[in-house]
């Protein structure tokens, strides 16, 4: 091939202009209408996931080695510890099942239906860095496991976030601490409803629009309220760590610390739940306050 000294000028400018226009169209389509989930999904499945898999290999290899080469003694110790934990968990579960039955009975009396107990799937967080300015993680389960966009993920301690992008074997999840994320919550003690916004740090959430005289205290547990239908209700989200009531402002500044280990968990649970909103609306002649107060 003959090498020319100059590139063909107009064609470069033309192509650049064309690509800039295409980029802008694609950006608008992606941001405004979410039309391009399939394109993103296929790029993720066929190009990006293999790379991510390879990057994750050393980590999984170390984990594998750790399991294979750990001594008999250590394994025995671990087994004893786990058995003890299981026993404790079972004891508290016994109490819980009684409570669950009671709760169901009470709700029946109020003629409101709820479904307690959701389907879950364990997923692993791949050790991959995304944009450091976004609070996102990549999971090793995807469309082939019937994961869907908007699905809630939790860890052993509380709500972590929701799925935003989907490949066939991987999914990207937005954590509740991302500045663009908000989750409807409720104070467990008083039933006060609010929305918890991410602040870009895995240590803090902000509860907005809480009036000065609201019944809220430091140390209160906040749980997901299930309003909006995205998140299953009654999973712990955070604990209140600071309340300021600046004079002259209409709302208090309330900060909470997420209870989920956002930056440490490696195993998470994907939760399937049926939004109970419809049932409640259909079978609910009584005043809504009585249901909110049923906690």
């Amino acid at each position: 091939m003959q090498q020319s000294l100059f590139l063909r000028g107009p064609s470069v400018i033309l192509r650049t202009l064309l690509l800039v226009v295409i980029s802008i169209v694609v950006m608008v389509a992606d941001h405004r209408w979410q039309h391009l989930q399939t394109l993103r999904g296929s790029i993720e499945t066929y190009f990006v996931y293999p790379l991510r898999y390879v990057i994750n290999l050393p980590g999984s290899f170390i984990e594998w080695g750790d399991e294979v080469f750990s001594s008999h003694q250590v394994l025995l110790q671990e087994k004893r510890k786990l058995e003890e934990q299981k026993l404790r968990a079972q004891v508290s579960l016994q109490k819980l099942s009684v409570l669950e039955k009671e709760n169901e009975r009470l709700r029946k009396m109020l003629s409101a239906q709820t479904k307690i107990g959701e389907m879950v799937l364990v997923a692993e967080i791949l050790s991959i860095d995304l944009d450091p300015y976004k609070q996102q993680v990549v999971l090793n389960k995807g469309r082939s496991n019937e994961v869907y966009i908007g699905q809630a993920i939790i860890d052993a301690w509380g709500v972590m976030g929701q799925v935003v992008h989907l490949g066939s074997h991987s999914a990207t999840a937005l954590l509740i601490s991302d500045p663009s994320h908000a989750i409807p919550v409720q104070v467990n003690r008083s039933g006060l409803r609010s929305t918890a916004f991410g602040m870009g740090s895995s240590q803090q959430l902000e509860l907005r629009y809480i009036p000065h005289n609201a019944d809220i205290e430091i140390g209160d547990l906040i749980v997901s309220s299930g309003l909006g239908g995205r998140f299953p209700p009654n999973y712990p989200v955070g604990r209140i760590i600071s309340i300021e009531r600046p004079a002259g402002e209409s709302f208090a500044t309330v900060l909470a610390e997420p209870v989920a280990h956002l930056d440490r968990s490696r195993e998470v649970l994907l939760v399937w739940h049926n939004p109970p909103v419809k049932d409640v609306l259909l079978n609910q002649p009584a005043e809504p306050a009585s249901i909110e107060g049923a906690e």
Binding site: M1, Q3, S4, L7, V12, I13, R15, T16, L19, V20, I22, S23, I24, V25, V26, M27, A29, D30, H31, L36, L39, R40, I43, E44, F47, V48, L51, R52, V54, I55, G59, S127, I128, D129, L130, D131, P132, Y133, K134, Q136, V164, H165, T172, P179, S180, G200
Partner: protein, 163 residues
Amino acid sequence: MQGKGCFNVVVPTLIVALMLQMWPLPDWLAYLRPDFVTLVLVYWALALPERVGVTVAWVVGLLLDVTHGAILGQHALGLVLVVFIVQLEYQRIRVFSLVQQALAVFVLLMIKQLLVLWVSGLVGQAPPLQYYFLPSLAGALLWPWLFLTLRNLRRKFSLSKSF
């Protein structure tokens, strides 16, 4: 220069760059991580401007968008404009010394970051700015080493005689 040789070298280096972009780093280092993909792409656009042009940049940018979980087209737009500038100025940049080149690369990386930042700002997701431009600085500091490595690689595969 054959298309096949091009494919054998350019694509693997871009894949390695993409993987370095996702490689898990400690938190403080992640804020410093240079934009490897842009650096490698700028090198190939300088070395083989008739092969690696704006179209390649756009496709790579789209991949970068998916790996970053960004809005589709965000990095693509940045890379297209950066490579466009390289296409206009490659003959001048080629004769620069390494230090001058690193300065030019710094400007290019800044342009890309500004474009990405601009789009993030438009959709209301602007990140805090105090460390935002450190990756450009790190990228410019890395450029001489990257340049020499890739040049050796290109000569080994004798991709083009000039530059």
